[in-house]
Amino acid sequence: MMKIGKLLVLITCFNSAVGSAQMIYPGYSDSAISQPIIEMDGIFDLQGSAIKREFSNTLLFGGFIDEGMKGRSFEKHSAVNRFGINANAEIRYINGSGGFMKRDSVAWMIKGGYFALGNLIYGQDAFGLLFYGNESYLNTTADFSNTRLDFAQFQKIGFGIVNKKNKSSVTLNVVNVQNYVDGTIRKGELTQNEDGSQINLDIQGNMLATTGANFNKGLGLSLDVDYRILVPWGKSTTTFQVMAQNMGAAYIYNGMQKIAVDSNYSYSGFDFETLTSDSNPFGDDFSIFDSLGIEKRDVKRFVPLPGYLQVAKLVDVTSAKKVQSFFGIRLYPTFSSIPQLFAGAYWKPTELLHVAGSVTYGGFGNFRGGLFLTLNLKQVNWMLGTEDVFGGVSKKGYGESLVTRLIWKINS
């Protein structure tokens, strides 16, 4: 029951029970579209290079992070670590039985989607400071330089056209930005003496973030392009997909808070006069931002959406081959993540049940192995899988992944 609940949470906490296209599971290059199709896909993916699944799971879904849990993740950290979250869902309706603009080879398509993408690059000391406190860094320097956080949460509604024959498509979307964060600490060094009575903070950084709880903070446009190319493959041919998703920008008219700091701050405590003055640290007029020389201002500006580019070899579910390969590469140009490489095998033991396995490297984490099961009925093709098998079965894993895809060919 708990598993089912968790499954539901995994899907619904990120606003969807439907899937996104941002998964490594291969797309199909099957028969031409001739009937209406509803496609839903979704992914919930936590991935880190050092943070254990037990830790990230508790951090995300709640609960107590005990010392053991912190320790097991902390010891795995190195100078540069990555952590990412990718939770998204998309639903598409393709009017496959009709044409578009008097052209029968093209169908129109509408889609809606929810996306939450976050990426964090940080050092071990940043993790240590946040989860252990500064007491662990007495008589030394905690270096949290080169910390970078990107996060975007947005929804989109789009209209596009699909080539019925090869399923290439292009969609123009209107995007609602719900939350957006772009922060960097270029230099961050906290030096303390032995008894913690002297602190020196050398910090340079800036952050741009939406504030408030309102759903709509900005509007924008994005373009989704799915271009499929048939290329020779051995004695046969195969389909390669060049995909660009969420390529666009939004204007945050609701305003963002821009915080910038560039200061070297030495602090050993307030003096007696300050304590008894109007600006005493326990008074209403005291501002920690002023004390640290942090500049805060509200700005309205365009921000890039976290689009991604993917080039991948697809599989053909209608093929007579029992085993097919798939592979590809994915890039997030606006995020500071490394490219993600993936490859796998697609096995059709029966017409009803298909199985795929994958290996990935990069993105927000290191090596991962995935497993996908597909139920292939006459009208419905439903896949459920994970891009991180180890994370799914062991707390020692570095992430968690759940992916699903439903394709429903409707009788017209």
Binding site: F131, E135, F272
Partner: protein, 526 residues
């Protein structure tokens, strides 16, 4: 397409049904709070300490009472009215003078003060002239006896044509600043008299006008807010009875204990810069400490009149007279008085000016720099013996915590002190609610040691202490209720050999350096 519209509401329902639990973890933080060094310069308001032989001594010299000219003489606001009525009906030709221009005298009521001469520092006369004459008139006002650089004050006003039923009116202000006013009147033998003289002339280019017995020219002069900086005459035999209260806030924080001071003396010096004699007597000299214990000073001169001689010389060569009252161990209980550490000090006195009447024949003088001052002087070694002297002070405090968000669960406040004062102290913190009730008591883990137990560093004896104040979780849970923080310090001046409190001289450059920090366990909730 129909199916699509069935799925969307289901997705929305699932979305709303999701509520996330908080992630919680604990972390340990060290936060410096205070870093300062207190010495006598910071502790004492005025510069009342000096160094003698490597030790501090108290050197107080402050004026606690001052009687100046403005306290003795207050020129009342005075209105002078001068009306001229016509005694017969006549025609007045152009350019005719028709008011005789007699000098009028006006008495300023100042009780038994009889002034012959004053000099105005600020203020003046507001003059109003009203005319019923049907042609332009020129009013000329003179104040004989009011001179500046030898020139008599004269002011002219042009008053437009008026009528009996509708008087024309002109107002003006004559600034008297810098003027010397001879108040002896026309006879030169009187006092408190201002003279005035008015003449009126019609416009030489105007028409001939007729006047009747019903017409009256009206002239009003009002002396307002006159401040003088010199006066000569007789200032009366005023008796001034007053009590000077000197509150020493620092002493009010001592709530109990015994203070032992060395032999000391206090001097009250009466400095008379007024050119008149006076006499004074102390009626009371007492202090009250925080425990409401009162000590009355005893001294042979208490309740006895002391003669205060007149100052001598001129404005430029004034020589004040000086009279001293010394309170020492031989003639008073001054040591007991000081050891009462009374925060409220009352000095009651009576002062009589010119006790023997107008013996100078009206030649008493008060110059701008003249005053009768009472100066308090004290010189004593700053050596003090403290036995369980309790100093208590209360500060406003506010620290709000939301236990559903990131908050402090427990902690310890620590103080690292370097003490160069020969005092030891035990510190206790009391957390008080809005009504002053104690919510929690936090005891320091040890004593802040006296410098006498330390060693010489940089030429001064000093001792380091590390004291912790543990703040339990139960205390932090009530922190929202805390509105005041009360600090209690129990002080002693122990002899390093006997550990018994005795008088300790405070070395020059003594200091109390401290760093205060907090070690906190924080429960983060996101």
């Amino acid at each position: 397409m129909k199916q699509l519209f069935l799925i969307l509401p289901l997705l929305a329902l699932l979305t709303v049904a999701c509520k996330r639990e908080q992630a919680v973890w604990e972390s340990d933080w060290q936060v410096p709070l205070l870093d300062d060094t207190l010495n006598l310069d910071k502790l004492v308001e005025d510069s009342i300490v000096s160094v003698n032989g490597g030790y501090y001594e108290l050197a107080i010299d402050r004026t606690i009472y001052e009687l100046k000219l403005s306290d003795i003489v207050d020129i009342p606001d005075t209105t002078i009215k001068d009306d001229y009525g016509f005694t017969f009906n006549t025609n007045v030709p152009p350019g005719a003078s028709f008011v005789p221009g007699n000098v009028e005298e006006h008495v300023i009521d100042m009780g038994d003060i009889e002034l012959k001469k004053i000099r105005v520092k600020s203020g003046g006369v507001q003059i109003t002239a009203k005319s019923p004459i049907g042609t332009t008139c020129f009013f000329k006002i003179q104040l004989p006896g009011a001179t500046k650089n030898g020139v008599t004050l004269t002011q002219e006003f042009e008053v437009p044509p008026g009528s009996s039923s509708n008087l024309s009116e002109v107002s003006g202000f004559v600034d008297l600043a810098g003027y010397e006013l001879d108040l002896r009147g026309q006879t030169q033998g009187s006092f408190n008299k201002i003279q005035s003289k008015m003449s009126v002339k019609t416009d030489a280019n105007g028409p001939q006008v007729s006047v009747t017995t019903l017409d009256t020219l009206r002239f009003t002069a009002t002396i307002n807010d006159l401040v003088i900086d010199y006066a000569r005459g007789y200032f009366g035999s005023q008796l001034i009875t007053d009590t000077i209260s000197e509150n020493i806030d620092a002493l009010s924080k001592i709530s109990s204990g015994i203070i032992d001071l060395p032999s000391s003396s206090i001097e009250l010096e009466l400095v008379n810069g007024l050119k008149m004699s006076a006499k004074a007597k102390l009626t009371e000299l007492k202090n009250v400490n925080a425990q409401q214990s009162t000590v009355n000073m005893t001294h042979p001169t208490l309740d006895s009149w002391i003669t205060i001689n007149s100052a001598t010389g001129t404005e430029n060569s004034l020589q004040p007279s000086s009279t001293s009252l010394l309170f020492d161990g031989s003639n008073s209980n001054v040591e007991q008085y000081l050891e009462n550490h009374g925060a409220k000090n009352d000095i009651g006195f009576e002062l009589q000016l010119n006790p023997w009447g107008n013996v100078s024949g009206g030649w008493d003088e008060i110059f701008p720099q003249s005053s009768l001052k009472v100066n308090l002087k004290a010189n004593m070694p700053l050596a003090v013996g403290l036995t369980d002297v309790v100093l208590k002070d209360t500060f406003d405090f506010s620290f709000k915590q939301d236990f559903t968000k990131t908050h402090v669960t427990s902690g310890t406040m620590w103080v690292k002190a370097t003490n160069a004062f020969p005092l030891s102290g035990v510190v206790t913190l009391y957390l008080l609610d809005a009504s002053g009730n104690t919510i929690a008591t936090i005891n320091g883990s040890s004593t802040f040691s006296s410098s006498v137990f330390g060693s010489v560093v940089n030429g001064i004896l000093q001792k380091q202490s590390f004291v912790e104040f543990p703040i339990a979780e139960s205390v932090l849970e009530q922190l929202d209720l805390v509105k005041q923080l009360s600090l209690k310090v129990t002080m002693n001046t122990p002899n390093p050999n006997t550990n018994i409190s005795e008088q300790m001289a405070i070395p020059a450059d003594a200091f109390f350096g401290f760093k205060v920090g907090a070690k906190l366990k924080v429960e983060a909730r996101i």
